[in-house]
Symmetry: none
Subunit: 297 residues, 2 copies
DNA sequence: GTCACTCATGAAAGATATTTTCGGTTCGGC
DNA sequence: GCCGAACCGAAAATATCTTTCATGAGTGAC
């Protein structure tokens, strides 16, 4: 009932009130029903509404006319619109954390909302200068190594898959020893990327340090721009840290955040290397399409 | 500016995109018209819309059915509601695709926006009944196998990592042969999950089929609810399909969508098994914290 | 290339909903 | 009590929606 201000809902209720005196008793009953429950009435046919109000179809149509619509059909459409607005007007109010006894539908809503929030935060907090620098380095790199462990390891693989698709040479490492072994090979012109939410995952910092000391351009994707990993990073890309709850560990939002950063890197690189990236993308798409078709059906 | 959440048009536009592949040409024309101009179409009768799209009434009705409404009448009402919402919502809507010469800052904004859109669409289109059923199956499973290839493989691993964290037995398979070999071991009470955007990735369908035939409860996470993979799936969870562009391949949004679904599954299971999940989560957090502290500094 | 077959499609018949017509009814005035 | 005017709803008329069915285009098999 906060429809007071200029909304069509108010407009209709007001119209009903204004016109009520000039209505006959039967019409008033119809108008009242419509004003009280637009959504419900929108679901009814003329006959239905006539029965509900204990009147006839003719009366319903007459009422619709009086309210300014050509006929009941149009009133009904307007009602549907009204109902939808009222529906959406209700504040989502997703302030609370996910609780153990939340119904599954709420879980979906809350998770989606929180991840959207994370994305917005990340986009807002991302330093485009650093991002641009990282993109430039990647676009010109002889080879790229990406380090990530656990959930961040998957992000590392995601980035690697994408870069490979546009013809770049990239490797993801989740084994710390192999990572270091490979980092030794890096030199100026190569790129090393460390992905760690905490910024203090030793297994990821170590290879980045080695790469850094061998002259590679190093990038850190972390939620903690002041953490140890950044001291070996030429460019730091900050992911957002959202409040976590018991049922929604930080890993979830950091993953979302990291993926957005990684996507930005990828698209940035694809732009810079468009000449070679576009055909490569098309080619890999072709190859996949064939593979799908062949087995399906 | 509050369009971030469950964008009004989004739900229907998303449904159109999801179902478009399974539509015939004529139906696609109708669906497109409806998605592009809900308000305008709401003002038309079946005949009118049929003429506008150069098709017949029958086709319009068929399209309405496919979109989940009993008939055109109801679709029309829904359209009216949508139109009203859009009217009041006034979405800013970043319409343009990412271009080759977009500055990096725009890339960030657009990517974040599109992924938010994807999340909203996914949440809107997710069948909570199916989701609940899948959660129940997972919570009571002796063991769970997850199949995914390429980008979907990473999602499969993500799910597996999470389930392991709360003490469930889960494996991710990206090798088709090993997947089938393992699927043979599954039996009633076990769960098999296939993740594939296209729904026609043979390498993922095959192990699901085997699992299905051995009596396991099977779940498909796909963007094509009418594809081959669903015929072996007890429960189908639909991910959203957003329009793709050259620089933003479908894989990007499907991954976002799949991850949301996977997160929902995880949280759902964590709720059901809270007694054991909570300590397990805490324990794994403890273990990690230690690992971070020890090497960082 | 040809044949058989499936499936998409629209024309038209059929069903439903809406609008109009029209006659009965009520109510107030005389 | 009689008259007239407005109200009202039943039912006819119309518009709209839904279903059926025949046709033709496309597709795969031979």
């Amino acid at each position: 009932m906060k429809e007071i201000f200029g909304s069509p809902g108010g407009s209709l209720a007001a119209k009903v009130r204004t016109l009520a005196p000039s209505m006959t008793r039967s019409m008033q009953r119809v108008a009242e029903a419509v004003a009280n429950d637009p959504a419900g009435c929108a679901a009814l046919t003329v006959t239905g509404l006539a029965e509900l109000t204990g009147t006839s179809e003719a009366t319903v149509v007459r009422t619709a006319r009086l309210l300014g619509y050509p006929g009941y059909r149009d009133l009904r459409l307007a009602l549907a619109g009204l109902a939808a607005q009222q529906q959406s007007g209700r504040a989502p109010a997703i302030t609370t954390d996910i609780a153990v006894d939340d119904p599954i539908a709420d879980v979906v809503t809350k998770l989606a909302y929180e991840e959207q929030q994370t994305l917005a935060d990340t986009a807002a907090g991302l330093d485009t200068v650093q991002l641009g620098a990282a993109v430039t380095a990647l676009a010109g790199a002889r080879r790229t190594d990406v380090y990530g462990i656990g959930a961040s390891g998957l992000v590392a693989q995601d980035l690697t898959q994408k870069l490979l698709r546009i013809g770049l040479i990239a490797h993801a490492h989740s084994d710390p020893h192999l990572a270091v072994t490979n980092a030794v090979q890096l030199r100026s012109g190569d790129v090393a990327i460390a992905i760690t939410h905490s910024g203090s995952t030793g297994d990821v910092i170590e290879p980045l340090r080695v790469a850094f000391e061998h002259g590679a351009t190093t990038v850190a994707i972390t939620g903690r721009p002041d953490s140890s990993v950044t001291q070996y990073a030429d460019h730091v890309l900050t992911t957002s840290t959202s409040r976590e709850s018991e049922l929604r560990p930080a890993a979830m939002s950091s993953r979302t955040s990291q993926l957005l950063v990684v996507d930005c890197l990828f698209v940035g690189v694809a732009q810079r290397t468009y000449e070679s990236a576009a055909p490569a993308l098309a080619a890999s798409y072709e190859a996949l399409a064939h593979r799908h078709r062949s087995i399906s059906r």
